[in-house]
Symmetry: C2
Subunit: 140 residues, 2 copies
């Protein structure tokens, strides 16, 4: 029913989308199975993609506050997945990047660790896959 009042559509879609995304996220969190939590993995992925990055920029990308980033980075450091390099010009900031171990983990995860989700996706047809692909971009 694409001819319903736009406001109604938006509100309904917003409500539906919120619940769906929320529940999907909960399920994904439970099925992480990559030895690293979704939170850490998302951050690691961002650090991987955006090269050396500061904590502040990471907070922006991850849509998270700075104290949260502090803790995320502490965990990743502890796991040996990232390393910090102090900025020689501005001693308040440090640049963060993946260690070889971090890169290795990202490769593993990207290549074969998403079995759970991939198996579910495999049940969908090409049209639905395209829809999800596009939806992911829109969500970003």
């Amino acid at each position: 029913m694409p001819s319903a009042p736009p406001d109604t559509d938006l509100a309904g879609l917003a409500s539906h989308l919120r619940l769906s995304v929320f529940r999907a996220s909960r399920t994904l969190r439970r099925e992480s199975q990559s030895g690293i939590s979704p939170t850490l993995l998302a951050a690691l992925s961002t650090i991987d993609r955006h090269g050396p990055i500061t904590a502040g920029d990471l907070a922006t990308h991850e849509q998270v506050r700075k104290p949260t980033v502090t803790r995320i980075l502490a965990s990743l450091l502890e796991e040996g997945l990232i390393e910090r390099t102090p900025d020689p010009l501005d001693r308040r900031v440090a640049w963060v990047q993946l260690t070889p171990a971090g890169r290795s983990l990202m490769r593993t995860v990207r290549r074969r660790s998403d079995r759970f989700l991939a198996r579910r996706l495999a049940r969908l047809d090409a049209g639905d896959l395209a829809t999800l692909e596009r939806a992911a971009e829109i969500l970003d």
Copy 2:
């Protein structure tokens, strides 16, 4: 590039979708603004839609374990949004349904409380909206 090896596509999509859904959920959680947390709202919505329901069935629908449901229901009860009716035949179970206050809240939320998300959705074109609508169904 719809002709790439299916496995590669699936893994990439899975990885992308995971991160997108995850971050979107985080953002939505922060912007809840309906006087009730996303967790409670999702549960309330399920109770609303699936009529009187038991705690176990709610756990299944919400993709959550039973102890979590216990706590969710306790919160909703405390807020006066739901009520429990003991099953007369099986005294282990109780049926949960919305109170008038709960129904009223759901109406409000569905109708106009999703301003944040709706405002963002308003920037998208019809095609993208349809995509998201479909994606929400697929995610379910």
